[in-house]
């Protein structure tokens, strides 16, 4: 296909010239994957072949566009409207997301538009309708936007299963993937079932450095507030700035502090996933209109609408991941051929080291990323149930179709059959449900026993389980919605507690009908701001770079003076982690004993180690209360001190504990809950249908414990173990760490060491259920009795 004259004229009239990659996509005959930086006209490239095709009328849906963000579909619809109108094309473009009205949805089923813009979940839903073959039978093209982001989560697995379905329904389909810069384009092409990779010109190297600050970063802390004046200065000098912050709570605090110092009254907005949709849309609209000079954002702005005016990105806090840093820098895409400008603000001295390491990696174009595992089976279970909703299916044909998708190419028939058995009967060793099966086989085809079950199955679509969120409203009739907080955070609040949301301090008044009621307290300092947003894990590669930097005194020259001083102080009062030696410390802090191990094995391996070591500490009667794993260190707090870590780090002891303990801990239960929801064993909590005054539904922990005891080989436990292994990294990394560092250097200190200080401020601690917790429960019970005058 070549660019028709009318299209060439259109480009000329815009004063543009088609990018080579846009033409390359047009010429491609099979499936393609376009790798292009932000601002490279990626979306237009994806749609150009469709628009050219549609100069000739087509019956039914021609092109399906899938994006990870609902907001993106609306934006694309607007952007496409202009060329379509200019070129006089008779094309109907509509979006279809969770927000689309039922009447519109129903119409789309009967009379689909030429181009439909949707999300993976909405696509899965549409494929579960009986009319799916009619809707998609004439489909010619599929455009998968932000494929790099989708491939990072289970939404990508679900999307690839849906794509395999689409390919069966429309055998001549041509698929185009659009992706930002990734470390392994060939792997992403395999993920989408095979495609020709097309690289756009990556553009000039970014202009990226640490932000010059008047004050050095503090010893500890995660806020980056010391840099507020310098950030304001940078914002004032740029046209439009995005300030990325790693967690929602930190974004709130930073925004609050920024405004407190904003003498010039620069218009600055806040954008994160806990804000209400209305609040987020207001900020996005203001940004698009050029009314804001800066927006403080979390990962909520990693993807999405391009604001051409953004000419500076400031990353506050360690970047955690080189690839994500590069993608964030790309948001400063003032002009495609001008270098993106970005500045990094480390929040503390530990992060300075990480920032220096990350800058070195960016300069070397050394992107990180872990290889993708095979498609998870719980997602497949959901897919099987949704397939049954669309109509009877043949197991052999479905197996063949599923294995044509990238993530499930290696799926064994035995695993497929186990998933089918789970979907049909629950898959229990005790065959209790013969009369009540969900799927029955009749005339060789599998189908829903009770077609009414389709409604529940469709309600449960989706592969990402959010932590339970509660709405926050101002108290009083029709109080304005402010946003959401995690249920577990709300449960820790006492009336009178103050916290930050939407940049303002509010007082917690109470919980009513599952809504957190608050009153504004503008003059008060917030006591708490710990509703944790997404926690980014530092990539393994970046952790290694940090370790190399700290461990090699010759490399310290690359660090700022304050940082060198800090490491020197650590060397003086304790010890520097160094090659071949595993350094650990024990010290008291806030009435608890703290044990820190500098393992540099990555968050996941240290998390596993934390689980195992706390078990051994439990056996030793040390009363472990909880632990925290970062990418560099493991922190365990307990009632009694660890004086000799050697027995706790004995590989034999650790290995013995692995199976038993992993199976019984909180992390596994959390994984199980997600697996059980995705696979369709339990329904996710939907707003408005929970806790209706009577006994609430019981926790999935009970199901987990019951299965473990009575049906330990059950499919869902196997999936949970796989998920946990993926999430927690297998034991090999710990053994490798122990083998790599045979030396031991344990220090008993009377206070927190310079290197340990930042750890104590991290959030997201994993509680340990055990004697420590029981002792605390008893202590709290005793204190409450005493307080109430009852003994």
């Amino acid at each position: 296909m070549t660019l028709p004259p009318a299209f060439q004229d259109w480009f000329v009239r815009q004063g543009w010239q088609p990018h080579p990659h846009q033409l390359a996509l047009l010429e491609a005959t099979g499936d393609s994957l376009l790798i292009a930086p932000t601002g490279g006209g990626k979306t237009l490239a994806g749609f150009l072949p469709s628009l050219v095709d549609l100069t000739v009328p087509h019956r039914g849906m021609h092109t399906l566009y899938v994006s990870p963000l609902k907001a993106l579909t609306a934006d694309i619809a607007r952007n496409l409207a202009r060329p379509v109108a200019d070129l006089g094309l008779q094309i109907r473009i509509e979006d279809r997301t969770g927000d689309t009205r039922p009447a519109q949805r129903a119409r789309q089923r009967v009379d689909p538009p030429d181009i439909l813009l949707t999300t993976p979940e909405s696509l899965a839903l549409m494929l579960s309708y009986e009319q799916a073959p009619l809707i998609f039978g004439g489909l010619r093209r599929v455009v998968l936007d932000e494929l790099h982001a989708l491939a990072e989560s289970r939404r990508g697995d679900q999307l690839m299963l849906a794509l395999a379905r689409l390919r069966s329904l429309a055998p001549h389909l041509v698929v185009t993937g659009l992706s930002a810069t990734v470390e392994d384009p060939a792997a992403l092409a395999r993920f989408m079932g095979g495609a020709q990779v097309i690289h756009a010109d990556p553009g000039p190297d970014p202009d990226i450095a640490m932000l010059d600050t008047a004050k050095p970063p503090p010893w500890s802390g995660a806020g980056g507030h010391y840099a507020i004046p310098d950030v304001l200065k940078a914002v004032a000098e740029a046209t439009t700035t995005i300030i990325f912050i790693n967690t929602r709570a930190q974004a709130e605090l930073f925004f609050h502090a920024l405004w407190a110092a904003n003498d010039q009254n620069l218009p600055i907005g806040l954008h994160h996933g806990s804000l209400s949709r209305e609040a987020r849309e207001r900020v996005e609209a203001a940004m698009a209109a050029g009314a804001l000079r800066a927006v403080v954002a979390t990962g909520s702005l990693d993807l999405g609408i391009d604001w051409g005016a953004v000419d500076l990105v400031i990353q506050v806090g360690a970047p955690r991941n080189v690839k994500r840093l590069v993608q964030r820098i790309g948001r400063a895409n003032h002009r495609y051929n001008a270098p993106s400008r970005a500045r990094i603000v480390p929040a503390n001295r530990f992060e300075v080291v990480e920032c220096v390491a990350a800058l070195q990696a960016v300069a070397e174009r050394d992107l990180d990323g872990d290889p993708r595992g095979p498609g998870p089976l719980d997602v497949l279970c959901q897919h099987i149930l949704l397939t049954a909703c669309a109509g009877p299916f043949d197991a052999d044909a479905l197996y063949a179709e599923v294995t044509r998708s990238g993530p499930y190419a290696g799926l064994s028939r035995a695993d497929f059959d186990a998933c089918l058995d789970f979907a049909a009967t629950g898959g229990y060793a005790l065959r209790a449900y013969d009369r009540w099966q969900r799927l029955m086989q009749r005339d060789g085809l599998w189908r829903l026993r009770d077609p009414r079950a389709a409604r529940d199955i469709r309600m449960n679509i989706g592969t990402i389980i959010e932590a339970g969120m509660l709405k926050v409203r101002l108290r009083g009739r029709g109080g304005a919605p402010l946003g959401e907080v995690e249920e577990s955070f709300a449960a820790t609040l006492l009336p009178g507690d103050t916290f930050l949301i939407g940049g303002q301090t509010v007082r917690y008044d109470g919980l009513r009908d599952m809504v957190v009621e608050v009153t504004k307290q503008p003059s008060k300092e917030p006591r708490i701001a710990v509703f944790s947003g997404l926690k980014l894990a530092t990539s393994t590669q970046l952790s290694r770079r940090v370790q190399a930097l700290i461990g090699d005194p010759d490399a310290h020259a690359a660090l700022p003076q304050t940082c060198r001083d800090w490491l020197a102080l650590q060397a003086r009062v304790s010890a520097l982690p160094r090659a071949g030696v595993l350094v650990s410390e024990t010290f008291p802090h806030r009435g608890r004993w703290q044990f820190v191990l500098y393992g540099f094995a990555g968050r996941n391996a240290l998390q596993t180690l934390g689980l195992l070591m706390t078990r051994l500490m439990e056996d030793a009667g040390l009363g472990p209360l909880g632990f925290l794993a970062t990418d560099y260190a493991l922190l365990i707090w307990s009632l009694d001190p660890v004086t000799d870590p050697a027995p706790l780090l004995d590989p034999v002891g650790l290995r013995e504990g692995l199976g038993e303990w992993l199976a019984g801990n909180a992390v596994m239960k959390r994984s199980f809950r997600n697996v059980a929801i995705v696979a369709g064993l339990i329904q996710r909590n939907l707003p408005g249908q929970r806790k209706t005054g009577k006994q609430a539904t019981f926790s999935s922990d009970i199901l987990y414990d019951t299965l473990r005891k009575y049906d330990p080989d059950h499919l869902l436990l196997r999936i949970t173990a796989d998920e946990a292994r993926r999430g927690l990294v297998d034991f090999d990394r710990i053994e490798e760490m122990l083998a790599r560092s045979p030396g031991r250097d344990h220090r008993m200190l009377d206070r927190v060491s310079p290197l340990a200080a930042p750890l104590l401020l991290e959030v997201g601690r994993v509680p340990i259920a055990g004697q420590g917790r029981e002792r605390l429960a008893e202590a709290e019970a005793a204190a409450l009795m005493a307080e109430a005058g009852l003994t």
Binding site: R438, A696, T697, P767, A781, A788
Partner: protein, 223 residues
């Protein structure tokens, strides 16, 4: 000692960490809301196919309680079965186990809202709407007619960051936690429970039974 002893209605009673109540003067073991057959009932009604082991798990714990206390009388305080059909649908293994547990003692099934009918004839024990024998035992607390011992609400409470089942003890009402394996809970601060027990004790089912104050004179956090 892992039990918690307290006085209610002029009797000395013991709350056990399992959620069972023991009355030593009579050697009665009282349990609320076993909800036997719950997973089968959910499947029958087109709901989820939950792991079908909860009846076995509940009976395992019940057996342990009977072995530990050797009661003369066992009282199921209503909702012993998730519905009347669940009682009839109990498999042979579980029936045999119940018969063995009941051998040599009196066994009373108080009717609950889930299981108002007569129990399956294959099962041991007698049906009663309520028991009046020194103390009044019924499924759901009756305001103004205390003191009574009841179940129904599945009370639970947050302690040290964890939600746990608990006994709720007031002047007029003693409400037992649910003993069944697949049972959720209602926070003691919920209006329904606060109305029955405006102030009193929650005895929490932890590794030991732990008492904490609830209601007016406490500073419990709302959950």
């Amino acid at each position: 000692m892992t039990d918690y002893g307290f006085d209610f209605g002029g009797q000395r009673l013991f709350a056990r960490p399992s959620g069972a109540l023991y009355w030593p003067a009579r050697r009665w073991l009282i349990l609320a809301d076993l909800h036997l057959g719950k997973s089968e009932r959910m499947a029958r009604r087109g709901g989820a196919l939950l792991p079908p082991y909860e009846t076995r798990a509940t009976l395992d714990r019940l057996e342990a309680e009977i072995a530990a206390t050797d009661p003369r009388t066992v009282v199921s305080l209503g909702d012993g079965f998730d519905d009347d059909a669940a009682g009839r649908g109990l498999n042979d293994d579980n029936c045999v186990r119940l018969v063995a547990m009941a051998a040599g003692r009196r066994w009373i099934w108080v009717a609950g809202n889930h299981d108002p009918g007569r129990i399956c004839p294959r099962l041991p024990g007698e049906n009663l709407d309520q028991v009046r024998d020194g103390l009044t035992l019924r499924h759901e607390a009756l305001p103004g007619h205390g003191p009574d011992i009841s179940g129904h609400f599945h009370p639970c409470i947050r302690l040290a960051g964890q939600r746990r089942r608990c006994f709720l003890v007031g002047r007029d009402h003693l409400i037992l936690p649910a003993f069944g394996t697949y049972t959720g809970g209602l926070e003691v601060t919920d209006r329904a429970l606060a109305a029955l027990v405006p102030e009193g004790l929650a005895i929490v089912c932890a590794a030991r039974a732990l008492a904490v104050p609830v209601g007016r004179n406490s500073h419990r956090r709302k959950a």
